[in-house]
Every structure is written in C-alpha cells, then in structure tokens.
Symmetry: C2
Subunit: 332 residues, 2 copies
DNA sequence: GTTGTTTTTACAACCGGTTGCAGGACTCTG
DNA sequence: CAGAGTCCTGCAACCGGTTGTAAAAACAAC
C-alpha cells in the first residue's frame, strides 16, 4: 500500500541503506546519487514511516501533553504556547485529556510511552508517588506540582493568594473561605497555605472547603458552604469555580460584590467575560508552557539533568468581583 | 533499558512467540503457561511497545484530531466528546492545533500518518483539493466541511442562520451584515448562503464582510465595517467574533442591542458569560464529536465504506444581544 | 500399540526503517 | 606504481513486536 524505502531503493537502483542515509545523513552520500534517490522518492511519493524509525532510533520527536480538562480555559493558552514552541524545536505535541480522572491519566501515560520522547504533566491529578513510579519509564516534566527529582514549572500562586487576602482584608472582610480544588492538586494546597498565612497576619478568620470539582458546577455547589460559614470573602481554586460560586450565591440571594467578594485564579478569558468581571490571580501560563517544554527537552537530552524547578510569580488582578464589606451583615 | 518480550520469554522459559500470544491471543496458549508468562511479565514490569506492534499489525489504535485553535471555546466540547467516545471504542485520541495555518495543518497530517489509524479534521483550513490528496494516504473524517468521497459530519448552520435572519427581520432590522470567517471555512460559506436566501425572502438588505480572523480581535476590527454599511443587524462567524464586534461597536459609541443587534454562532461558554448574553446559533458539538469518531472508525474498518455524510441541525438561541430596531437611525 | 486429531509450543520471516562495518573506487603522495 | 587516505555504497544485523507454519506433545479411538 504505502511506499517504503525498499521501493525507492529499487527505483533509484541503490541499496536501501543509501536511501536511508539520503534522508538522515545526506552528507554521507554522493550528490549525484542523492539527487537520483530524492527524485525517485518524490516520484513515488515516499514518506518515511515515523513509527518504524522510532523503533530503531528510540526517538520519536513527539511529546505528550496531558491535561485534566481541555475545556477548562486555563489550559488552552498553555497548550498553544507549548505546542508552538515545541514545533520550533522540532517536536510535535500530542495533547490528551484525562477527564479529571487519575486512572485515565495513568492509562494515558502508559499508552503514550514509546510513542513520545517525553510527557508534560500539567496540573496532574495523580499522586506524587505514582508520578515518580511512572517517571522511571519515561521522561516527565511537571507543571504546577512539586515532585522530588523531577523537572517542574511552578506557578507560585502563593504570592497571588497572599495578595488576595491582603486585598480582601483591606476591604474590611473578616471572614474568608478558600474553596479548594481537586484532591491531588498542588495549586490548591498552595492557595490554602499562603492564604492561611496571610489571614493570620491580618488576624482574619479563614476556613477551607474542599475538595471541589474545578468547574462551574463545583463552584455553584460550594456557594452554600460559603454562606454557612458566614464568610464575606471567597478565594476559589479557579475562575470557573469562582463564576459558579457567584451564580450560586446569586441564587441564594447574595449579590457579588455587594454582599460577598469573590476572587478567582487563572485569569482566564471566562473571568474577563463574566459579569461582574472577576478579580483573579493571573497565572503566566504561556511562559509556563514554553518553559515546561524547555525543561522536558533538556531532561530528554541529558538523561540525568539534576532537578530543575522553575518558579514563576503570579499577580492579583483586581476587577469587579471584589468590594468593601458593607457595615451591617445583611443576612441576619 | 525497557523490558522487552524477549526478556519476559527468557524469564518464563518460553519462546517469544508464546509471550506475544499470551497477550494477543490468550486462548491459543495453555492456561498454566499463560499464568507463568503473565507472572514473569508483571514481575519484570513488561509493557508492550505499541510502536513496534503497530509496525507489524499496521494498527496503532490511535486517532488524530486536528483543530485550528484549541483556545477557541467551540472546539473543547467536541474534542472531549470525541476523546471519551473513542476511549470506549478502544482508541486513544491525540489532539493537535494548527494555529489556523493550512501549512501547519498539512505538515501535521504528514507527521500523524502511520502513528494513527485515521484523522479527524475539524473545521479544516485546507482546501478541498488538498484534503482529497492527503486522504489517499490516510483515512479521514471531516467535520464542518463537505468533501467529495469523504465521510463528514456537517452541522448545518444554514438552518440556524436562516432563523437568525427571520429573527432580525422580525425585530425590524432592514440592513444586515454577515461577518465571515476564514477563507476556506465551509461554515462561513454556509452562513452567507443561507442568510442571503433568507434576507431575500424578507426583502431586507444583506452584505458580506470577510474573510476575518475567527477571534475577538477579528470581530473588533470588523465593527467599523458594520457601521460603515449602516447595518443594524449582524451575524458573526462565531461567538468570539460576535463578542469582539460588540466591544468594537461600543468603542465606536454604538450600544448592543440598543443600536445594533448581534448574533453569534457556536453557543460557547464565552457567549453565555458575555454581557449582553449572546443570541447565537447553537451547534451540536458533542453529538458531532461522537458521530465523527463513529464515521472515522467505520472508514478505517471497512476500507471503502461509501461516503456517509451526516447532517446535524442547528438552532437559534435568543438571548440579550438582539433587540428591536429603534425607529430613528441614531447615527445621522 | 498404532494411528489420527487436537492442543501447545517453537522456529523464522517479516513490518520499515537505521547503522556499524567492510570493501571497492578513487585520489593523493612519494 | 605501490601504499595510504577518502569517499561512497552495500551487506547484514538490529529495534520489538506479530504471525504462518511446522514440529512436538497430549489425548482419543481403535
């Protein structure tokens, strides 16, 4: 069916190895012969079988990129940055979605093994132990997770979360709640820790509610917990949850930002479109995508490259979903 | 490095072919031997090399899915639907993004060849001729494009576009403009044709402005053309463009829906979050994703399966970005 | 105990490339 | 013109599996 290297060799009147070298090491073959081979290849429409090549060389020139949920607007910018940068470096990126399911994530890694030279795990849902175990088989780079001995790009949401608490405390809020994300999320823990520390500094109360599904649904359902806690300031795990929470609060009769202030995380397009426009912690996703590819390629090339962990700062972007606490508690 | 079938064979004291069959045709091997092989495999942590398997069988059990822009909220729901349905059918889906560039798209198809059993082209930017040419090498299924001899899922935006014109005409608008999308977009042509026909039926004026980049930017820039045409009704190629156009109009002092009514296409989350909430044409993306995988697998299995083209209806969803035309032209 | 049938396993070729090695042709020296 | 050095090309093994075929073993029937 498909034309192989042997047919090209036949047509050009040379040995297969010559054809192979024409493409993989052109300088080793006589210019004239090379022309002949290239002509024959073009004539027959020869395309090298990359899977076969990978079998001998051990290199596929593909990277895998695993995310929990493509539909979460946090991921696409990162994916695009990674993809276009990888292309420049001569790699193709295959993206796969785990549906927030750690089992699928693990299965996916298995499938990807030996079809790619390395895998980028973005906000993985697997446990650290599982990641380390799987990492023995396949180079990884991890985004938003600190894993021992593994190259990582960390968006330090802690700085942003601290700033968010400063901001809320400054507006007079005395009771805050953090709406956490998925169980194994490093980012979620990071927010909780940093917000907790900042809250203590300001002497304001801070409680935690989680884990939650990192979706609008998850936020919507969590709104009840916010009201139950009597909180007037909320930091949600991501923009989607924040948007959902705002809706949930509205349903329960609490208006944002009049009654409750809500801060999101990620600075996604969804947050910018939402009304009220979301106050949120901006993540440098594009930088992270590029950097992660960089680290991964480095890990692939130099087998053991010492652990590099790159930490990127995050900033609070103040928009319209936060405001001063009204003097009198409205819900008595 | 990695453990191969030979090492397992050695450990279990059998020939490699027995190991192979233990996994690919278990019923051909004695239960007791099978146990031994499986134990040895587990012990050594054997994982079959899928690339090698693909080389002999010609089957990878992978599908490719090519989209123009993952960050466009139209795509993720479709991707997710395709991916999860494919998983059920025993296939893995690799997604790749072309950055709206036909050249990248073509290159990508070349890379994907023989690493996947077939490719799903969603809203391709390539010309029909190119698609047909490339389709000779690799099974395709196409979404939102009609290509001779190729299985396709078409979301007939025409019905929705007609309904949109009906809606706008009913609100009193007499001058409409269609903001088209990318050059090779079938959907864009579809909208233009159907809207044109409906406009004629109602005796309202309709002009076309395009091609435009299918992004907020593209819509923002096109706002000027809307005003220049003196139109009070707009149908944009997609929600993003519609949102951008609304912003652009606002910048120029025209308010939506008071001065101009805008209709989007796709019914994405962005449109729902936007204020005013977008009136838009809802596309059955999830159904389309599933159906496309179905058609593709069918094409893969039965080499020549006659062209199946599946047409899905679209509906107009009326929200807040459309309203009655004010009696007096505001911009005199 | 022989023959025939079925089950189970081993052998070896093959998928489509790559690559170390060896040898032939050619060029350059002395 | 012999010998050394280059350049080019062919040979053949190999990557890690699969699979058709043949041989061996187990079993059944007579």
């Amino acid at each position: 069916m498909a034309v192989t290297i042997r047919e090209v060799a036949q047509a050009a009147g040379v040995h297969v190895s010559t054809v192979s070298r024409t493409f993989s090491a052109p300088n080793l073959v006589n210019a004239e012969t090379r022309e002949r081979v290239i002509a024959a290849a073009a004539e027959l429409g020869y395309r090298p079988n990359l899977a076969a090549r990978a079998l001998t060389t051990g290199r596929t020139n593909n990277l895998g990129l695993i995310v929990a949920d493509i539909a979460n607007p946090f991921f696409p910018p990162l994916i695009k940055a990674a993809q276009s940068y990888a292309r420049v470096r001569g790699y193709q990126v295959f993206v796969a979605d785990t549906d927030e399911d750690p089992r699928v994530e693990e299965e996916l890694i298995g499938t990807l093994a030996r079809q790619v030279d390395g895998v980028l795990l973005v906000s993985p849902r697997l446990s650290n132990a599982a990641i380390v175990r799987l990492g023995a088989d396949l180079p990884f780079a991890v985004v938003n997770r600190r894993v021992k001995g593994m190259p990582a790009v960390l968006m330090d949401v802690g700085t942003g979360a601290g700033a968010a608490v400063d901001h809320l405390a400054g507006l007079g809020h005395r009771r805050l709640v953090v709406l956490g994300g998925p169980r194994n999320s490093w980012t979620s823990g990071q927010i909780r820790r940093a917000a907790g520390a900042a809250a203590e500094r300001h002497g304001v109360e801070l409680s935690y509610h989680g884990p939650n599904a990192p979706t609008e649904q998850g936020g919507y359902r969590a709104a009840a917990a916010v009201l139950a806690a009597g909180a007037t300031g909320v930091i949600a795990y991501n923009d989607l949850m924040a948007i959902g929470a705002i809706e949930g609060l509205a349903t329960a009769g609490a208006e944002v930002p009049r009654d409750v202030s809500v801060v999101g995380v990620d600075d996604t397009v969804a947050g910018r479109l939402n009304r009220p426009k979301l106050t949120t912690i901006a993540m440098p996703t594009q930088t992270a995508g590029r950097a992660a590819v960089d680290l991964l390629l480095q890990a692939i090339d130099e087998a053991a490259s010492g652990t590099v962990q790159m930490i990127l700062e995050t900033d609070l972007v103040v928009r319209d979903s936060t405001g001063p606490r009204v003097a009198v508690e409205r819900r008595v």
